[in-house]
């Protein structure tokens, strides 16, 4: 039997965090939450999650792109799948996300099916297993 997957949600809007938690708890995942980039980065290092759902625009000294870049530069974390969440969805944003090292992108408002499918696809990737 496979171990429960640990998923970290880094999102400043509590309603969106709850919605994501509610959706992902339909599966068999262990969900953790952080409300800003700094807290998210500390939790990534402490938890070493199997996947990070990361909001792009957050108040404070680290936004989503910066947290993603830090994850990619940290030995032992650099293969952790990162899914960026954004309300903008412009081509330049996708490009910036790709440069920061994100694996996937969800544009708000997103469908719960889209969320589950994206998370499942990322967790099934071999790179995630070797993180």
């Amino acid at each position: 039997m496979s171990a429960r997957k640990v998923i970290l949600i880094v999102e400043d809007q509590s309603d969106i965090r709850k919605l994501i938690r509610m959706t992902l708890e339909l599966g068999d995942s262990e969900i953790h939450e952080a409300e800003n980039g700094e807290a998210g980065w500390h939790m990534v290092k402490a938890l070493r999650p199997d996947l990070v759902l990361l909001d792009v625009m957050m108040p404070g000294s680290l936004d989503g792109y910066q947290v993603c870049q830090k994850i990619r530069m940290e030995p032992g974390l650099r293969h952790t799948p990162v899914v960026l969440l954004t309300a903008r969805g412009q081509q330049s944003d996708f490009e910036m996300g790709r440069q920061a090292g994100a694996d996937a992108y969800l544009t708000k408002p997103f469908s719960p099916l889209e969320l589950i499918d994206t998370v499942d696809a990322q967790l099934a990737k071999p790179a995630a297993l070797s993180a």
Binding site: L26, M57, P59, G60, S61, D63, P109, P112
Partner: protein, 376 residues
């Protein structure tokens, strides 16, 4: 009530009332009597306020209670009054604070109207005029070359036209910033990019006065700013332009960036003869002009808009500005801008849209879950 207490409360600019739990007025200052026809010892003649006081007395509402009402003493279009009810610090009953919020809104409207007037009625015609003059000059250059005096006069007219057009352009910028609130963009701006764009703008200025520019702390590690890149460059350029104007020729100008809590601090320091009375808050108001020694120190004229514009742009980005007068000839502007995305960048309708999207897909999600359980 003692006479001194009455003097004290009358000196308060906001309306102030103390009412008993059944709405009888025990104390009122002069400002309050302008808002309500008050008789001490009688119930306050404002039913909306009495309802709230009664609710507060019964514990139905939590204090401080804040609400707005229309002025009960005006006819026609009524001013809006902003009220706050708290427990009275002087014995029983409640303290009611009253502020007219329509007056401040009217002042903003006047400024906005004026700015629009400048933009539409004056700025564009003046810029058109100046451009027309330039074209005219090009057309008649061959003729002018034969008549040196006429050529010089035409050049003077053109220069004066350009000067007025420049002033008008500044007024148009003022109109854009104050009347049209341009800082709606939520661009993601790395500080390094902002400073690079700024340096391109200030390079000719620095070269003109042979001023050496130094920067420190401008690294990729700095937090990101969200806002309007163009307007922030405009504001920073305004400060640097002001500093350069007051620097000694062949002196130094320094820009230092550093994270400061959830803010980014940008300090610009010059080594000059000091800035003219910019620590006076009035200097940051639109159309302010230096007087006395400060005027002499400033040395140049202007519309008195530059610093006001820069400050307003920084404040639209939820930032702040201060001037540090250091020892000797050194003066420093310190601009603090919040790190990360502003709360207003979040689309207020997004929650509704997200809920609708979930509602649409919920049935399919449930069907899928049931299918997964059945196959398991």
């Amino acid at each position: 009530m003692s006479a001194n207490l009455q003097i004290l409360v009358d000196s308060i600019e906001e309306g102030l009332l103390i009412v008993s739990p059944d709405g009888v007025v025990r104390l009122a200052n002069q400002a309050a009597t302008r808002h309500f026809p008050i008789i001490l010892g009688k119930r306050l003649p404002a039913e909306e306020v009495l309802v709230q006081v009664a609710a507060a007395a019964r514990g139905y509402v939590r204090l401080p209670l804040v609400f707005d009402i229309d002025s009960p003493v005006q006819v026609g279009e009524k001013d809006r009054l902003h009220l706050k009810i708290i427990e009275s610090p002087l014995g029983g009953g409640f303290l009611v604070l009253v502020r007219n919020v329509s007056e401040a809104a009217r002042f903003q409207t006047i400024i906005s109207n004026f700015a629009n007037l400048m933009d539409v009625e004056l700025s564009k015609p003046m810029l058109d005029f100046s451009q027309q003059l330039g074209r005219l000059l090009v057309d008649i250059v061959p003729e002018l070359e034969k008549q040196e005096t006429l050529a010089a006069e035409m050049q003077n007219i053109l220069r004066q036209g350009e000067e007025v057009a420049g002033r008008m352009k500044q007024l148009a910028t003022f109109a854009q910033v104050f009347a049209k609130s341009p800082v709606l963009a939520s661009e993601r701006i790395p500080v390094m990019d902002l400073i690079s764009a700024l340096l391109v703008r200030v390079k000719p200025l620095l070269e003109e006065r042979n001023i050496k520019f130094h920067q420190a702390g401008v690294t990729q590690e700095l937090p990101i700013i969200y806002g309007s890149r163009a307007w922030l460059v405009e504001a920073l350029y305004g400060y640097i332009e002001h500093m350069v104007r007051h620097c000694r020729v062949r002196s130094d100008l320094e820009l230092q960036a550093r994270p400061y809590g959830n803010f980014i601090s940008l300090q610009i320091r010059n080594h000059g003869r000091g800035l003219p009375k910019l620590n006076d808050t009035r200097s940051f108001l639109p159309f302010s002009r230096p007087t006395g020694d400060a005027k002499e120190k400033a040395g140049v004229g202007g519309l008195g808009l530059g610093m006001a514009l820069c400050k307003h742009i920084v404040e639209l980005h939820r930032g702040s500005l201060r001037l540090n007068d250091e020892d000797g000839d050194i003066t420093a502007f310190v601009i603090e801008l919040p790190a990360g995305a502003p709360p207003e960048a979040i689309n207020p309708d997004l929650g509704t849209e997200q809920a609708r999207r979930y509602a649409e897909d919920l049935t399919r999600l449930m069907q899928r879950q049931r299918g997964a359980k059945a196959s398991a």
